[in-house]
Subunit: 253 residues, 8 copies
């Protein structure tokens, strides 16, 4: 089952070449190198065990949380419902639910929060998505500065808070409707800006499509975009960048 | 042929009632009231004779310009081609063509330029559309302040020129790509902002659709939007607003 | 905290230059000029305190209304729900709710209504959006003439009411489905027409997109467009134009 | 080869039942009834031989015209190019080409033109599509009244020409950009209005999509729509309706 | 208030010319000719009083039905709800509701049903829209032949029922999903085919857009299209065509 | 009523030629050849009696199931609801419902399951659609291997299970969100891959449109696509291919 | 470099286990099993060496053809230009170019053409795409029956040619505009129908999108769809299916 | 003109407070703090002077290059045309143009290339966009590893080159058509993946929209997206991340 063991058996004559070759083809992929790297990646980075709760059956979800919690593994669940929380809590009493970000987590090992990222929003309606981003990043050990309701329709709100961006390794800009915050922010800072369009808006906002197009078309340097309402995805990438910056490449090893 | 004359003939018994009624129905609409209002509007406001040149046959276009110029009427032509200009010039030597705005005009009566509007652009590529707007407004007697290349990716360019907006009755914000300039501008001034999305951009800008959606979705107060690349339309409305402001309602009467 | 005070302390030698420079950078933006202009704008124009109620938490909304009402400030809330109204009313008994326009307002200082705008609709189903526009304009002190159900499918309904437009400084045309009212209206009047597409319709109306496109593509002069169902935005811009016209630029100062 | 002959041979014992059954299955469909109806339809109505010229190879097109013309059959070709015309003319000298409508026809038998339809357009740029419609209808023997450049942005142009619609059995309304002409026309007449959106326009007209949506969403009674720029299709249906009206059902038999 | 009376007063010297001219401008449009035509149209054709019930307030709807029914006028209501019916029935006991077509009508004067149209559908799920079309046409005095569930996926179902089309003046083809029925039908008959796309389908049918595009793009001759699910519109136009055909032009007068 | 009988009567002189010809035209299509082929097809292949349950009235559905079950015919119902099942079960006690795939079937004749297809999914949320595909194929006698949750974001999950594809005649790849599974799978196997986009996802997935476009644009060889969420359609085609492969052409006869 | 050789060296003690493990990870993927399978697939099936010519630099393309032709390998190039052909021909004189299908091939080993597929089109304008499909299939050894211009607007053209489908293992239906051919065909045959939407059409055909949607939404059983104009892709899948059917699974091994 | 000087004059009594306040408001924004930060950013990071050449007038472009080159500043021009290069070269002989990436640069100061990023493509047609990304990053001092033509349709090409990703701080994945490369890559590495959709493809790829949607919807962790064909933007962000990683936050100061 293990490449090394297989080679040893070949070396020791206990396994024929043809049979070895056949087994090599059938070995689970993870034993052939890439999967191992993969496991290393997860363990090394603490990105383990993220659960997308939306639509999962209650019993199924409870089982996942109970099993992981019994194994002492922290869990980050996204897009959870209040009633999913109540079900999980009965089995895992220290599960915590935030109705704003809809994050349902078990977090027994408090990570040191390193580096710095900024999560800013255009309006107050964008805060749930922003909190998903911020709490995801915090769960993975990133220090987060929040700066909400600084949309470009009142540009002074952003400009008078520029000191909040000092020392940040990455900025997450969350905005719906016109979605212009990301472009303005990217013109003011010198680190990557991850733009998160939200489905906030009405009329021709088309569920966030308008904000997505605005952000993708921004002519400011340093912007990249994630899916509509995908706070989790932004928090994940921001953590990757923050770790690269905080420790430098060497410290990650 | 004239309502008043018709009524007089009825009064004087020279025209029977049935025949009068029949003629009333057949009179050109403009003789029945609304059209007169309509003509009044054009004469009073100097918005007469705008020609959309694009796609017009050369001979047709030359005839229009020659006729109007012989009648002493000024003409504003939009979206003209260089070769249309050369053809017109042979018959109307004082026709003027601006290859940037593609405006081909005959302007013998210089209007006094009243009030003030500002035309600003996000980038230099938006200037042709902005010039169509600015020169349209100027042709109709509006004083125009230009402020180009002040897009939000470098917000300081706009902010350090705020004094340009002082005293303006209306702002035209011309921008392609992400199109965020309009929203930021509307948050900084207290007069109507007419947003002109442009087809400038590539990739997911979809010929200006992205900028149009951004502008329509802006949550800043005071923004309205015209069609993609429609500098003329913006210049027309800005002139309407500027006239309302410059003279007040009374002076228009 | 105030620029003038800071300069005075520098003048009087109570504040060093380096420290003054540092404080200047950190002063809230509104103290550096643009924000002051901004505050001036709001106070001068009476556009203060508009609340977008949709989606706001009940306690949050009640607190906003109570605080502002205690400070004697009038409030215009848009897109409010019946139950939000009931909650606000318990703390602010003179709050008024109109279920048609969904405007929830506290209006203790009745403004004089100046100038004139016309709000017209294509059908009766467009009336809620029209009322949001009309009541917004009225809240800000604009005199409003309503002209409902005059869509182009029966053009005589509009034509036989042309006198309603007399003396108007601005027209708001609200229409769903085909959305052609705005273009026809703009051809009949000589003031700006603000077109409001509505989500009224079915089939290929795509939630108002069809009407939005119709209005943006209108070849009539003088039309600008706001977002689908955005009665508030139209009422705001119409008020800006009406003020410019009613008083002239000078009187606004 | 003919059903009747086949049955006769069966009757006369010259053809076995199994073989007859097999032949019935293999007979060209048009011999089994529906196709006959089909041929009847074409002959009876004079809708024979319409060629969509666009993209056809020159030699191919020439062959079609020569063959049909040798057989004495009139041909209506749509979307032809100048150079296709020149090639056809060499073989069929009495072929006629109209560069405006791009119709390339051979018409030796002048049909009596019966009934009446009206073809109207919003602007002059819509005229080529309108001419395709009008000339198609005329080719098929329909009397056509043209009424061009009566778009809704200047509604009096349409209203002052209402007498043109008198006695019409059908109206074809051709318009690009906002496309509102069809809805207004349908509100003014009491016969079917066939709406033809055109690709005329720029910006958010999206090649006629905006006009198509406007027309499909019209709330006026009596409108149906054909494809963008499909003047031919409108002319065809208008002819069907005109014939039904002109002769009544009985006379068609 | 009446043109004839006004002219008489001028003739008799009881009304001055200037005052007469002013009144002419203010007279309700319908008194100037076009509106009268309009009223004639409605009375002559029996298309009076169609109510789009969807979204109408209950009390409002009841009042409309009661008033019209007291005046002895028949009413056709479309897109009605069960509970609207129950409310109307209390005041107008002979109101009739069909939950399939959602038509709520008061029909005391049974019209003679003349001519013939065919209403066919692709599947059974399209029947509600088809019934709206059929019952609309019948309400207006059209004889209707129904042919349901003859979609092109089993083309023999249509082909084996071709005799149903005999003598029809118009065909309404109702289909969702791929929407190909209209094109096939138009290839088999020689009268106008009105295509009604329905929102039936799932996945990439996009609420009927796919069927709408299919029908608009059909290369069969004689097809025109109405809005998605617009059975009423199709029934109305079909009635117009059927009347033109049934009586010939003369009989309509 | 039968072609052969008709021909016999003609042969025997019991039926005149004209009458025979007339009857031939009126015979149900299925008696003229193509329909017979059609019936043969259904009987031969066992694809009879598939019911699309969604939206069908309860009584209607029960009647269908009862009738078919009384005739001893197996039935496959797709997109059924729990309550439809309960209603059917009362009359047909051996009806079976799977809430995951929403298949409601009566299956008394267990078919031998021949050949092999693979049904794989990108995520667990795609399983309902995959089960519709798999159970459809099994109902029609296809042997199915399931391989779920092997999406490309963790490519090792697919690669370490490649042996599952051995001997398969066809692969069904079910995926939402980015939908890349189909392209990767097609690069790894040498049989047709039927791609089923699902509506799983959020934000810019647009109800499966994104996955549909991904799959249609795949540059891997051997992919074809069905409608969003159309597991049934994929299962049907896979069965066709599997039968062709399992038996060869000859055995199908 | 070869797994077998590596294992042998381990067996013979010439290679240490750690080094062997390291080499295993670095071996080209194709040596680890999947790639071999992959190569097997290509060699076994004769799908080797297809070149997408469009956009390839001339020198680059010539080199590919020369190299392969020197190695005696047959090449199928798709979407080639006339001038690419001329360049290739200079180096590979027996290269053959078909300007209709734009296939540029070197085919020295004539394959036996087995089984049968049908390629049919809606119109003559769809023939280039159909030829790409047909010639691709033929290049890979498939026997192809062509049936062109049998679109559904004249359904008898298809019905009177049904015998062409006899014995076919797969049908490729190529159609633009409304794209309904695929659905009708699938209702008439009992083998998989691969639908190829084409970009043929104008107006609302949107470059083939309309046909694509029609085909994806077809409710006929047995249809799957490839990308717009993707004749090659359809020819490839049809070949896969034809081989499965022609030989049965066994014969492929 | 300088804040510090202004404060000094206030301190020394040479400038009154009111005048100082007025000047503060008018000072160019860059003198008020944020702009200085802005300038710092550019100088510190070497991101100065990027020119988007597309559409720029020749004389204009030459002037920019000459001026900057005379000042000894390196310039990176993107989307340049061959003829723009020829014009620039006459004045700036050491300008270098790469027709593949269309980068036109003057690079006299060779930067040390630090860190590591990987640029990979799905196909060879994506290489021009990839080169724009790679050369942009290199211009800004980033070490780049290229890995082209490793699209997911042949997944072994990517998997057998996994060692290329070792030590990379960031991956740029460039792909058109289905665009699935980014998701697969992100599942295999543990650093941010910047996805660049390209306009490569045909049919339903809609100029890159399909690839954009695929990438935005990817469920792999660590992906962010830039505009279609925006290689420059990806190269810029990748450089930001690489710098953060290479030096750690401290070294950037």
């Amino acid at each position: 089952m293990d490449v090394r063991e297989l080679l040893r058996q070949v070396q020791e004559g206990r396994l024929g070449i043809e049979e070895a070759e056949a087994q090599l083809k059938k070995l689970p992929y993870e034993d052939l190198g890439f999967a191992k790297l993969d496991h290393h990646r997860k363990l090394r980075q603490g990105f383990e065990e993220v659960i997308y709760c939306s639509g999962k059956a209650r019993e199924h979800l409870v089982r996942i949380y109970r099993t992981l919690s019994e194994e002492g593994i922290d869990v980050l669940g996204t897009r959870a419902e209040e009633e999913q929380y109540r079900a999980v809590r009965e089995e895992v009493p220290d599960a915590v639910f935030d109705p704003l970000s809809r994050i349902l987590k078990v977090e027994r090992h408090r990570k040191e929060q390193v580096g710095k990222i900024v999560v800013c929003t255009g309006g107050t309606a964008d805060v749930p998505v922003a909190e998903e981003a911020a709490q995801t990043a915090e769960f993975f050990g990133t220090s987060v500065k929040r700066l909400y309701d600084v949309g470009v329709a009142g540009i002074h709100r952003l400009l008078s808070n520029m000191e909040a961006f000092e020392g940040a390794n990455c900025v997450i800009a969350v905005a719906g409707m016109e979605g212009a915050l990301a472009g303005v922010a990217a013109g003011l800072v010198d680190v990557p800006v991850i733009a998160v369009p939200t489905s906030v808006g009405y009329g021709a906002s088309f569920g966030g499509l308008s904000a997505l197009l605005t952000m993708v078309n921004s002519c400011a340097n340093g912007i990249t975009v994630v899916n509509i309402d995908n706070g989790y995805g932004a928090g994940y990438v921001a953590t990757q960048i923050n770790r690269l910056a905080a420790g430098g490449r060497e410290s990650r090893r």
